[in-house]
Symmetry: C2
Subunit: 198 residues, 2 copies
Amino acid sequence: MGRPRAFDEERVLDAAMRAFWAGGYEGTSTRDLCEATGLDRSSVYNAFTSKHELFKRALARYLDAMTATQAEILGDVGRPAGERVRALLARIIDDEFRCRGDGPSIGCLSVNTTVELAGHDEEISRLLDRDLRRRLDALQAVIEEGLRAGDIVSGRDPATLARYLNAVIAGIRVSAKGGAGRADLEAIAATALDTLIR
Amino acid sequence: MGRPRAFDEERVLDAAMRAFWAGGYEGTSTRDLCEATGLDRSSVYNAFTSKHELFKRALARYLDAMTATQAEILGDVGRPAGERVRALLARIIDDEFRCRGDGPSIGCLSVNTTVELAGHDEEISRLLDRDLRRRLDALQAVIEEGLRAGDIVSGRDPATLARYLNAVIAGIRVSAKGGAGRADLEAIAATALDTLIR
DNA sequence: TCAGTTCTGGATCAATCGGTGCAAAATGGA
DNA sequence: TCCATTTTGCACCGATTGATCCAGAACTGA
């Protein structure tokens, strides 16, 4: 009952996500969001309550999609654990170049949001925290598997190695935003794995 | 001649720097800057032309100070090169906790600005680029020294190792913003050095 | 002491911000 | 067909944005 929506909510969320991704939270106005989604402001507010709420939805969608993709790569039981970690880094580098124009990468919405809002916005911080835990857990599981199988070798404990890899991933993404080329990023990733895989 | 300024320009720049550091460029209004510096708006505009120009000055000041401090640590000829790299990472972790309140670290203005403005703002990008080159050069010089002396060991070339360390530093800073504790950051740094120092 | 110059404080500017009010439009159920 | 309900487009809200204007204060050199 009632007038049906003229838009697909998931498409709108995707468009909003891309807008926030490119412009940041503060840097993206509600007018920008309307242009990106094709909706009018009243429709946006009717469907998503507020800019902040829309951002939460868009960020959660991004985190879910991103972490699911990464978990899929890390959970590929057909390959050795070390190779899965290597494939994850390769995928991340691909992503940095997939939707890049002529300028530097737009980076990763998770890193962008951590830098912009962690510590200022409690709700957003919670979303990021929860996602970070999931990613660390997935990394740690693969590392434990690799240590047992012997294709990952390190004197460090799995939780530390997971934290380390997560930091390297963030570092790769910041480097990409800073203008590093594909070869640079691949060299960083390869060097990072020298400690784990031999 | 003319009425003398009632403020010290360097102090004002420091205050503005801290405000931008904590709030980001978009997130810090000219009113915020006035509150942080104690100046009136007309004084700010009279002395620094515009918000953007003030940000450039504050960022340049930050980059100069930060990179000079790091170059000093890396140039300490009394210690082995590997130890200098280790000291640099220790110093960076200290910084993340030095001016942290109860919440997560405010991070690094260079990383914050790279994430927020690189690709959107050409002038700022140039400042960041120039600083990145200086930092990479300083890192590469120490690494070459360490490789010659033998206390740094790696099959990778010095430029790659410098890029790698720079990415690790960015990763540590993002991790700090994401709420990682001191022990976490130290473990990340120690793991990162496993590839270089043995 | 006064002219010339610079700086300061407060009012003010147009533009934009996030958000709302309202009437017309579009549906399903009665 | 008409009512209840929801969405849509457009005008509009007060607040805030970056920036400017201007009168007066504070200094130097003549």
